[in-house]
Symmetry: C2
Subunit: 426 residues, 2 copies
């Protein structure tokens, strides 16, 4: 079967996505994986655990897409009815597949659990379907061609869906897609600029290109620039031209964004700052007030962060600021805990008390209470102390308490990043 | 128009949901709000910024649902084409709506921005549509009836969609739904039990009921139990009977889960523990190692947490544990940083050094590196010190670094919760 110029639809099964308050996320890695195979996802449908509705979703999907991936509904409980729905849509019977049954029997025996009739349902597949082995769980997936589409069913459990997709689905797709075109994608992460500011800077550049699509996504962490183009595959002139057009846009954007860009593609701020500290062999201490530990939490999401993060003084009370960071009481009384002088004293104190190379501090009003006319909610001071001197910068953030904390943590890590850039430039 | 026994479909517009790696979340509050009006969401469709595909999505939706809510694509950029798609599907023209235009003009004037033709697009609505005023942004939503369905269009920006939904949509829905049935929903949050354990406990209870649906959702924070029933409205016997059946199940489940349940409905662990500390007038200090600040971050997500959280000593290095918490060097050398004795010393140190009522500590191996045969990745010790003595408990968590940190933070807050329960029982 040839799947050139494919459109894909992802159908995610689960009542929890409709009214259980749960966000669906399998489709994210599925879309990324499909794009790498040259297949664009054009539709996503979320539907509950109802055989009738799943069948209707599949019927609708095969009309508008030729790659249909269903995730969920392959478990052993009564709720799980994707097998039945696919069988109904394609007019096939469900039959016990010996190989699937043997795997199931072995897995259940190993865990000392009984193989009931209910559990055995997982070994039933539509007649003619190809079984997709599950390397990490008990329910196999399956694939079948129907009309001009290929329908693939994967479990809802993320790790299982991912494992089957990577080991079973990708190789099969690669063999039937000649990759006439392939999605080329590039992401840039900026901080400290509004969507409008990024747009203003990039507009003159992007206007030149017709085949490259640019989009901006704003979040509390900053504005992400996404560059996307479908590039014909092969060694022809058109491929080379489109590819070099894409590449030159990438370098132009990189240059235009300059220091406002902190990372590309998979890099997070935590990665970037961690890498900087590591290569410079610098140690860090934090003094967090309104962020409450968030900066330490973010830095320690990175494996190996103990190499540079020594400690964080989360000083929520004034007493803690005095005890741990030796912030003078006079300073707290005169300027208040949310002030440039206290931010500075916190950064200096964090560095000195921990004997690290750099001290980074945050103090602010996360809200919703605690604001005044002169010090409104969202006012945050960030201080840094290290080999390049001491600096303090005020910020005014917007949003709710969670937003202000997240924006403050991002701004603080960015100040650290810019400070460390000097180390590498000097 | 009567919307009894309604089925709703939510259509979310945005290419970023298809291949930009972004999760769609507007549909979460929309589904909750609809459920309160007695309307069940049966479908969600995600589609890119393509007029043709949006039109196709709406055509498909009105066939299977009688309440269709479209979110996104109402802005002023060329990408935004929901207005055009709705006009095309329903065969109506787009016409400038004076009221919308005046609002737009005023908003732009206030921000000193020019009202270009592109921006003015937001004031165009399909003929015959009812405008839904946007209390917090420039793009109005709109509502129109078509065939046997009502189609509503809301902006993609979450805060705007939410504001329009609450102030404009809900009152309109309430007037046309006689609420013949209404979704009754109850959630229980458990911690420390596996999905299978919760299932084992609840199975005998839930088997008795036919009209109440029970589902379990496992996450790193624990297993959530969701109880759901559509209850006929009115004052009849059937209503009362179903309602009291639901209520008696709720109390039976509450009783069965006991202390394993930490919260219901909208309560988070941070809320619950914060409330406990507040009502008992107890202050808290944290000593975090492997969680890196996450516990402090979580507690400070709650407004007013400064009333009980004094500080957190995030002691990533052994030196920090000695300096800040006076953990004896001998102890660290003999037992290692990840040990029951160090967890205990950290909790005692945190309490003593901060002079708070309670000290809570976490030390463990978040991974992926750093594990040994006797101390594998995921091993975590949690210590607590306070008026009811000192306790340490070991845990073995599974998952990646992020999972281990999150599970450890949840277990630590739960130990604090159980410790504080004694305060209220004594």
């Amino acid at each position: 079967m040839s799947l050139n110029n494919s459109r894909a639809e992802i159908i995610a099964i689960g009542s929890e996505f409709l009214h259980g308050g749960r966000l669906e996320s399998n489709s994210i890695f599925l879309a990324e994986g499909l794009a790498k195979c040259g297949i664009a996802v054009e539709w996503k449908t979320l539907v509950g655990d109802s055989e009738k509705n799943i069948a209707l979703a599949i019927t609708t999907a095969v009309r508008r897409a030729n790659v249909v991936i269903v995730t969920g509904g392959l478990g052993s409980t009564v709720d799980d009815c994707t097998r039945e729905a696919v069988a109904a849509v394609t007019g096939r019977k469900l039959r016990r597949r010996l190989k699937a049954f043997t795997v199931l029997k072995t897995r259940y025996a190993a865990h000392g659990r009984p193989l009931t009739n209910v559990v055995s349902r997982q070994a039933f597949l539509p007649v003619g379907a190809e079984m997709l082995e599950n390397p990490v769980g008990s329910a196999p997936g399956f694939l079948l061609e129907w009309k001009r589409s290929v329908i693939m069913a994967l479990p809802g459990v993320s790790k299982e869906a991912q494992a089957i997709f990577e080991t079973q689905v990708v190789p099969r797709l690669a063999s039937c897609v000649s990759q006439s075109t392939r999605l080329q994608q590039k992401m840039f992460f900026t901080v400290g600029l509004t969507e409008l500011q990024v747009d203003d800077r990039l507009h003159p550049i992007i206007r030149q290109s017709q085949s490259v699509e640019l989009s901006l996504l704003a979040s509390v962490l900053g504005v992400t620039v996404v560059l996307r183009a479908w590039i014909p595959q092969g060694s022809g002139r058109s491929t080379n031209q489109k590819f070099s057009e894409f590449e030159s846009l990438v370098s132009l954007i990189r240059q235009t964004l300059g220091d406002s860009m902190y990372g590309e593609d998979e890099q997070t701020m935590e990665d970037v700052v961690g890498q900087q500290l590591k290569s410079a062999s610098l140690s860090l201490a934090l003094a967090e007030s309104c962020t409450g530990g968030l900066i330490g939490h973010r830095l320690t999401q990175i494996a190996g962060s103990s190499a540079y993060l020594d400690r964080s003084f989360v000083c929520y009370s004034n007493q803690a600021k005095q005890d741990l960071l030796e912030v003078p009481r006079k300073l707290l009384n005169r300027h208040g805990a949310v002030s440039a002088s206290v931010a500075q004293a916190m950064a200096i104190g964090a560095r000195r008390k921990s004997q690290t190379d750099v001290g980074l501090s945050v103090t602010g009003i996360a809200g919703p209470g605690g604001g005044t006319a002169s010090k409104p909610v969202g006012l945050v001071f960030i201080g840094i102390d290290g080999p390049y001197g001491t600096h303090v910068k005020p910020f005014q953030f917007y949003g709710d308490r969670q937003d202000v904390k997240m924006r403050a943590s991002q701004a603080a890590l960015n100040i650290l990043r810019l400070y460390l850039l000097r180390f590498f430039k000097s």
